[in-house]
């Protein structure tokens, strides 16, 4: 008994499966856009914060040293950096992310300049690390350095790390690269206290430099002191 071949079933099932796939893609796309929107809104908020601090600073001059330094939230900048990086690895929409990344670099530079101004005018020594890395080539040293820096930032919340992708196509970033004479063959590169350090630097080395130049106290030692009291 030869069976009739039921083409219709195969075609109907194909279209239902296609429908399911398109739905899944649509849902995925919807969430990706939501995430991009979220990134944009964080960025806008930071941008307003920086602009507002700058304006406040210009308006009130030296008198406002205390209030200005409190108002800028570097934590949010760090969080935004993490999210953009995650997005580049996990969301396909790279054009929009590239744009967000440029904007983020610009915000970092502005934050850096503002903090520098504040620190010089208010006589406060602030801790900045400028970090240059690359995503254009496979840079395992950069990956390791990133881990070191985020660990360091967790340990010293007052430390401000500004990270720049060497390959970012933005004149402001190129200017930074020129000022500090960063070469793409010597990445990762760090600028601490206007000194250029190239190649991988271990957490111990950086920690001692950071402690020395900024008179930082380890969070742990503070905590220990507190508990002793």
């Amino acid at each position: 008994m030869q069976q009739k071949f039921d083409w219709k079933r195969y075609i109907i099932v194909f279209f239902i499966t296609l429908g399911l796939f398109l739905t899944a893609m649509y849902v995925s796309d919807y969430f990706s856009n939501k995430k991009l929107d979220q990134l944009k809104s964080i960025q806008d908020k930071i941008s307003i914060d920086i602009l507002s601090s700058e304006t406040q600073f210009s308006l009130l001059s030296e008198l406002s040293c205390k209030s200005v330094s409190d108002s800028v939230l570097s934590g949010e900048l760090g969080e935004l950096g993490n999210k953009i990086e995650w997005g580049q690895n996990n969301i396909g929409n790279s054009d929009e992310l590239l744009y967000l990344k440029k904007y983020y670099s610009l915000l970092q530079i502005k934050d850096y300049l503002l903090m520098k101004k504040i620190s010089s005018r208010c006589g406060k020594k602030s801790a900045f690390i400028l970090y240059f890395y690359t995503t254009a080539q496979n840079c395992s040293e950069c990956e390791k350095e990133s881990i070191v820096l985020s660990s360091l930032r967790n340990k010293y919340p007052e430390l401000r790390v500004y990270s720049f992708d060497y390959s970012t196509d933005l004149s402001a970033v190129r200017a930074m690269i020129n000022i500090y004479k960063i070469q793409d063959t010597k990445l990762p590169a760090l600028v601490i206290d206007d000194n250029l350090l190239t190649g991988f630097r271990s957490i111990k080395e950086l920690e001692s430099i950071v402690k020395e130049s900024f008179n930082f106290q380890d969070k742990k030692t503070i905590n220990e002191k507190n508990t002793l009291k």
Binding site: M1, Q2, Q3, K4, F5, D6, R9, Y10, I12, V13, F14, I16, T17, L20, F21, T23, A24, M25, V27, S28, F31, S32, K35, Q38, K83, W86, N90, E143, K144, I147, V148, S151, N154, K155, S202, I203
Partner: protein, 424 residues
């Protein structure tokens, strides 16, 4: 990377296709699934011979034969042939006890593999119908009568029963129970479309004509129950499935036994699919050519690919974690990043996986509805998903590897290994 994600995309598409195919068939044919709760009477009781091949089954054979003797079927119409395939234990002594029954014959032969035992039995069959029963399985009283109703259709050449895991005692057997319940649903759907590719060792019943026309069982890479079904499909012999004929089988109770059994099944499937590749995508062979065989191949490939991907990601994760620990020390590498919904993966493949897992749950619910009359969800399902997703890739990969190298795994070897473990 793009080639790999392309392959993954195609394989997941086909996997979803298979599930939708079953579901559409179910929605269309669900009214035709015949489940009888009451005992039935047949107009005519035709002669049936049941062949029971056994090898080192001294512990289980008695219950198996008792269940056959207990079948609600006229004794003069039911013959039982027990073949001892050169057992090394007391099987032969145990089966002597049954020689007192008029309808039971026992034979002893030199060990030659299950198909040789079945073929010896085939030579002795004098009834128009015959079946086989693995000696680790028990039949429900009503099973044979219910199966025989399907032969009222003159075109039906073989009928497969519903196989249920007997009295699961541990998590592993529970997981297999969920799997077998699901298989009942898939098998019934394949029966509706004429695409059954295996007439399982436990209690499939055939017209004797099948073997008269097509010849005896073959070695068939130790999966003779798959090969005979494919041979029947090639000759357009109709295979039915009787969902309310229950056969209880003792499922492997350790990972090692399950692993060996599945490796044999998958190996057999791959090799038989290669032997019968001439059926693939030929219109005249219908469902078996366009659905059953391709979907089996798809599932083997999917597992291989998805597992390789998972393994690759896992290694990557470990490498990253090790770098992290090397660079900043153990204490700093686990200090918490805050939970943020932003970092929840929303790639398309995540939603497709959700669809696939849902379809597995639905399959189980449909299987249970067919078997038990209502959908019932149990922990078995989660045991199944967890255990099988961890171990199944190994037996599939090894089976595939052996199939490429043509290295056989054997039925007697499987039991020998089991026994040597017991002896220890």
């Amino acid at each position: 990377m793009n080639v790999i994600s392309g392959i993954i995309f195609v394989l997941t598409f086909l996997s979803v296709y298979v599930q939708v195919f079953f579901l559409i068939t179910f929605l269309e044919k669900r009214k035709n699934i015949l489940i009888r709760k009451e005992s039935i009477e047949l107009d005519e009781y035709l002669g049936v011979t049941i062949i029971v091949p056994c090898y080192n089954e001294e512990k289980t054979i008695k219950n198996t034969i008792d269940s056959l003797l207990d079948l609600d079927y006229p004794k003069d119409k039911l013959k039982i042939i027990i073949i001892d395939d050169g057992s090394k234990d007391n099987t032969w002594q145990v089966i002597q006890e049954f020689t007192k029954y008029e309808n039971i014959k026992v034979f002893h032969k030199k060990n030659g593999g299950k198909y040789t035992a079945l073929n010896l039995g085939l030579e002795k069959v004098e009834t128009p119908f015959l079946g086989c029963l693995d000696s680790d399985s028990l039949v429900d009283k009503e099973a044979l009568k219910r199966i025989m109703t399907y032969f009222e259709d003159k075109d039906t050449m073989a009928v497969a029963p519903s196989i249920i895991v007997d009295n699961p005692k541990n998590i592993l057997q529970g997981a297999q129970k969920a799997e077998y319940d699901m298989a009942v649903y898939n098998k019934k759907m394949l029966a509706f479309l004429g695409g059954i590719h295996v007439t399982p060792g436990p209690f499939s019943i055939f017209r004797k004509k099948v073997f008269d026309d097509l010849g005896p069982y073959r070695h068939a890479h130790n999966t003779e129950d798959q090969e005979i079904a494919l041979r029947m499909q090639e000759h357009h012999y109709k295979i039915e499935h009787c969902p309310d004929a229950y056969v209880y089988t003792i499922a492997p109770n350790t990972i090692g036994k399950l692993y060996r059994q599945r490796q044999r099944w998958i190996y057999g499937f791959i090799r038989n699919a290669i032997d019968y590749r001439r059926l693939l995508f030929r219109k005249k062979y219908g469902t078996i050519a366009f659905f059953t065989l391709p979907s089996g191949i798809i599932s083997v490939l999917s597992v291989v690919f998805l597992f390789s991907m998972l393994f690759y990601n896992f290694i990557n994760f470990i490498v990253r974690k090790v770098t992290q620990i090397n660079v900043v020390g153990v204490s700093n590498s686990f200090s918490g990043s805050n939970f943020d919904l932003f970092f929840f993966d929303t790639k398309t493949i995540v939603f497709i996986s959700i669809i696939l897992y849902t379809s597995i749950i639905v399959s189980l619910l449909i299987g249970r509805t067919i078997l038990e009359g209502k959908p019932r969800i149990s922990f078995d399902l989660f045991y199944f998903m967890i255990i099988y997703s961890v171990i199944a890739p190994f037996w599939i990969l090894i089976a595939l590897f052996n199939a490429i190298r043509s290295k056989e795994s054997s039925w007697t070897l499987e039991i020998d290994k089991r026994d040597s473990k017991i002896a220890k």
